[in-house]
């Protein structure tokens, strides 16, 4: 335990005691409102506790000292301390409300990114079709997020941007953000100190592991990253692409690669071996079997498993993608 060596965090150099650095256009507004409420609250807290302690000391029960007469009510005083704090509350409400409206009203020309949350990973889909499991955005440009969920409630929370919103299955929610600082230079992740992106709505077993990073680039770097991301196959082997697709397309939630039995059979050591099906037939797992299982999952269900796998049409996985996935499975032998 190294409590003491960690204590400097309490007086963080960047950001205040309570908040980390502000990295979106509306973050300073949120922080200012927080500070306003904080100082006014601190004032009232010190006042209340101060008066309380003073009274305890001054009127502490001593021999020979009884209670002294004083009024049991005073309407003027009581109305005053009911009404006057209300004005402060109105100020807090109005500031909270106006800031909120600007946080919730995206500019018309905002760049759009689709956010698909599912147990327990994030998928960000960009206008050119590129996909990523971490979030990549340009600096100084409003970005609008369209949030959806495939299963249960999730919540996209980026503390550095002071924003969060639930991802609700069956409906689209939206938020927007304009980042004011980059997280590093170039498109090499090692050159960046990315922001955290948390899931803030409890969503089951791996809720606390549903963690992604936010990379903020210069405009030129973002365009370069986007082009590279859209062209999945450039600079990667087929098996590497297959592994990316395995994670992004959700295969990972039902098929392990370490032999663990999940909703579907593990991919470990499965290529080239024979499998028994529920109808009693048997076949060796090859490229054709993989392709059939993706396009028509109910055709041959491995014995001991339920027919629960969804169909992946070519709009969700191209033939080339299937080839990459087959290469990935092959590499797991």
């Amino acid at each position: 335990m190294n409590l003491l060596s960690n204590l400097p965090l309490l007086a963080d150099a960047d950001g205040g005691l309570f908040f980390g650095p502000a990295n979106s256009t509306f973050a300073p507004m949120v922080d200012d409102l927080f500070d306003l409420i904080y100082w006014i609250s601190a004032f009232f807290f010190v006042l209340i506790v101060g008066v309380m302690v003073y009274f305890v000391l001054k009127y502490y029960r001593r021999p020979g000292h009884g209670p002294q007469p004083s009024p049991t009510h005073n309407n003027t005083l009581e109305i005053a301390w009911s009404v006057l704090p209300s004005f402060l509350l109105v100020v807090f409400f109005v500031m909270g409300f106006t800031n909120y409206m600007s946080m919730r009203t995206p500019p018309d020309d905002a760049y759009e990114i689709h956010v698909q949350a599912k147990k327990w990973s994030w998928l960000f889909v960009y206008p050119n079709g590129a996909e990523s499991s971490d979030l990549h955005i340009p600096v100084g440009r409003p970005v609008r997020f369209i949030l959806e969920s495939e299963d249960v409630l999730h919540n996209m929370f980026v503390p550095a941007f002071r924003t969060k919103m639930d991802c609700v299955p069956g409906r689209y929610n939206e938020i927007w953000v304009e980042a004011v600082n980059t997280t590093g230079s170039g498109i090499n992740p090692d050159e960046h100190k990315p922001h955290d992106l948390f899931c803030a709505e409890y969503c089951g077993r791996d809720h606390s592991n549903m963690h992604a990073f936010v990379y903020v680039y210069e405009t030129g770097d973002f365009d370069a990253w986007l082009e590279k991301a859209a062209n999945l196959y450039e600079g990667r082997t087929m098996a590497e692409v297959g592994e990316l697709l395995y994670k992004r397309k959700g295969c990972i939630s039902c098929h392990s690669i370490d032999g663990t039995k999940k909703a579907g059979p593990s991919f470990k050591d499965s290529f080239g071996t024979a499998h028994k099906f529920t109808d009693g037939t048997e076949a060796v797992m090859d490229e054709n079997y993989i392709r059939e299982s993706i396009r028509d999952p109910r055709a041959k269900v491995v014995a001991g498993y339920q027919p629960v796998m969804p169909v992946f049409p070519s709009s969700r996985l191209s033939d080339k993608d299937i080839t990459a996935i087959a290469e990935f499975i092959k590499s797991l032998k």
Binding site: F45, M52, T72, W81, S82, G170
Partner: protein, 566 residues
């Protein structure tokens, strides 16, 4: 059953402390059956107290296991699944089995009829019934824990609660039954207060604890049915797939949140209003001052009860509800803070020019003001929309509601327990030990929850088994605090239990209070009073004098002072 009713019997018991065996409700009859089938509100209150304290320690053990696991950001001894079940059970047990029934069902049951100078509540059989409903509800909870656990969080949010394989239906049945227990208690108290106030006790001569219980009962009666119906709908959703909450079947998950919080926000006031009632009594008695602004305090209880129904949407600012709804709920939320602030100012004004004794109950009352002020003020950050977006579902919220519910309700409950303990069991506890553990509770509490405000504002989400390294220092402080708090709570209850064996015999009125429960002997006889006690201003202490021989306060004869009640 009852003792002979010679006219001076009450006086004799009061002054000499000489009780016959029959005088004492604890000894009036013996055997397990005499407790299990009792219709005496005092014994029912004591049985509730035992059940509630057992639940509290169960919930507390869950909390300590959670905090121990969180000492580092990575796995110590709980898997994610186990962690999720543990925080769910901590929340569900503490909320439904402990904190909602704690003050009304345990202390309220014991004190309310005696405070009214009556021998029991309006419906004693219903009272016993509501205790057994609590027991049945608790058994459902235990079954849910034993047969597969629960991992939805105490909020049961859909669609997760529809899809998880844990024992949601068992737990919901428990909540449903506990709801009826709560409704019966509320109904009983409303009827009792409406119809059984003694001659001379007008509404505005009623002790403030009774006002707060009355306001609480209104909420229990009106809000709890919504929870029951919501639970049934969720059971139907899981069992019959009717498609009301699950989007897979065309339902709306946000609808569940509206239903759930329509009960569960007012439930926060079921927890805090009776606590405020206790504090009003303690501050007046231990300052030996008439409560300041009686009417404002009484009205503010009713105002909180009514406004509490209009603010549930502030739990849903990031759920995707309409922006108009968010704005309206934010505005209404701020309005609830005014009556709470009024009470705090009135308590301080009551202490002005008083004669303040730092007996253990008063120490808890002062701790309450300190902690509840922090809890209330941090609510302002959550009521304001822009700051709530950042703080929602983080440890800031965890800290805020623990400051209100635990720093508020629990501290008031323990303070009230110390205050009424001599009345309940006829023994005095050790004052120095009581104060020592109050201090440990106070320090442990702040060390546990204050760091959570900071880490929450910096972005630490709640309900996390694992976390990034940045937050570790705050979690470690919090965990140390939790164990200190645990020691304090065990000690605080231990001091009381120890007094049962070694405590000095309690006088009828050890604190010099002027509410009616102090006018019968300690512990009260089975029928509480032989003759209806005289009703006066509950906060006028001018006719009370400390009597060395008695070891407590006695009423000195004198011209009945006519004081105004406000």
């Amino acid at each position: 059953m009852s003792v002979g009713s010679t006219p001076d019997k009450f006086q004799a018991a009061n002054l000499d402390g000489a009780q016959t065996r029959e005088d004492n409700y604890l000894l009036a009859s013996s055997g397990v059956g005499s407790w299990l089938f009792t219709l005496d509100h005092k014994r029912i209150g004591v049985m509730y107290l035992v059940g509630i304290l057992v639940s509290f320690f169960l919930g507390g053990i869950f909390a300590l296991i959670l905090r121990a696991e969180l000492f580092t950001g990575t796995k110590l001894f709980l898997t994610e699944d186990q962690y999720n079940q543990m925080f769910t059970l901590h929340g569900a047990v503490m909320t439904f089995l402990f904190i909602i029934p704690s003050i009304p069902a345990a202390l309220g049951n014991f004190v309310l009829p005696v405070m009214l100078g009556q021998k029991d509540v309006a419906f004693p059989r219903m009272n016993l019934g509501s205790f057994y409903l609590w027991v049945v509800g608790a058994i459902f909870f235990l079954c849910a824990i034993i047969f597969g656990g629960l991992d939805t969080g105490w909020t049961f949010y859909t669609p997760y609660s529809v899809t998880t394989s844990t024992r949601v239906i068992l737990a919901l049945l428990g909540v449903f039954v506990l709801g009826f227990s709560s409704i019966f208690t509320g109904l009983n108290f409303i009827v009792t207060i409406n119809t059984m106030r003694p001659h001379g006790m007008t509404w505005f001569k009623m002790p403030l604890f009774l006002w707060s219980i009355y306001a609480t009962s209104i909420i229990q009666l009106l809000a709890t049915p919504v929870l029951g119906i919501t639970g049934l709908l969720l059971i139907a959703e899981r069992a019959l797939h009717i498609g009301i909450f699950d989007p897979e079947m065309g339902g709306d998950p946000v609808l569940f949140q509206h239903f759930f919080w329509f009960y569960s926000h007012p439930a926060v006031y079921i927890m805090i209003l009776p606590a405020m009632g206790i504090i009003s009594e303690l501050i007046a008695v231990f300052s030996r001052k008439h409560i300041f602004g009686y009417r404002f305090i009484a009205y503010s209880s009713i105002a909180i009860a009514l406004l509490g129904f209009l603010v549930w949407g502030h739990h849903m600012f990031v759920s995707g509800q309409s922006q108009l709804a968010a704005v309206v709920f934010s505005g209404l939320t701020f309005s609830v803070s005014i009556p709470s602030a009024i009470k705090v100012f009135n308590w301080l004004a009551t202490m002005y020019k008083g004669s303040i004794s730092l007996a253990t109950p008063m120490c808890y009352a002062l701790a309450f003001i300190f902690l509840f002020t922090i809890g209330g003020l941090t609510g302002l950050f959550l009521g304001a929309l822009a700051t709530d977006i950042q703080l929602h579902d983080t440890y800031f919220v965890v800290a805020h509601f623990h400051y209100v519910m635990m720093g508020g309700t629990l501290v008031a409950f323990v303070g009230g327990l110390y205050y009424w303990w001599p009345k309940m069991f006829g023994v005095m506890y050790n004052e120095n030990a009581g104060r020592l553990f109050c201090l440990i509770v106070f320090l442990g509490f702040n060390l546990t929850f204050f760091p959570q405000f900071i880490m929450g504002a910096r972005g630490m989400p709640r309900r996390y088994a694992r976390y990034v390294e940045e937050f570790q220092i705050y979690h470690q402080l919090s965990t140390l605090g939790a164990f200190l708090l645990g020691i304090g709570m065990v000690g605080a209850i231990g001091v009381l239990l120890y007094s049962l064996y070694r405590g000095k015999k309690a006088p009828a009125n050890p604190w010099g209070a002027n509410t009616l429960e102090w006018m019968c002997s300690s512990p009260p006889p089975l029928a509480n009073f032989d003759n209806p006690p005289p009703v006066g201003d509950p906060y006028d202490y001018s006719n009370l004098r400390y009597d060395e021989r008695e070891g407590g306060y006695v009423t000195v004869p004198g011209p009945a002072k006519k004081t105004s009640s406000h």
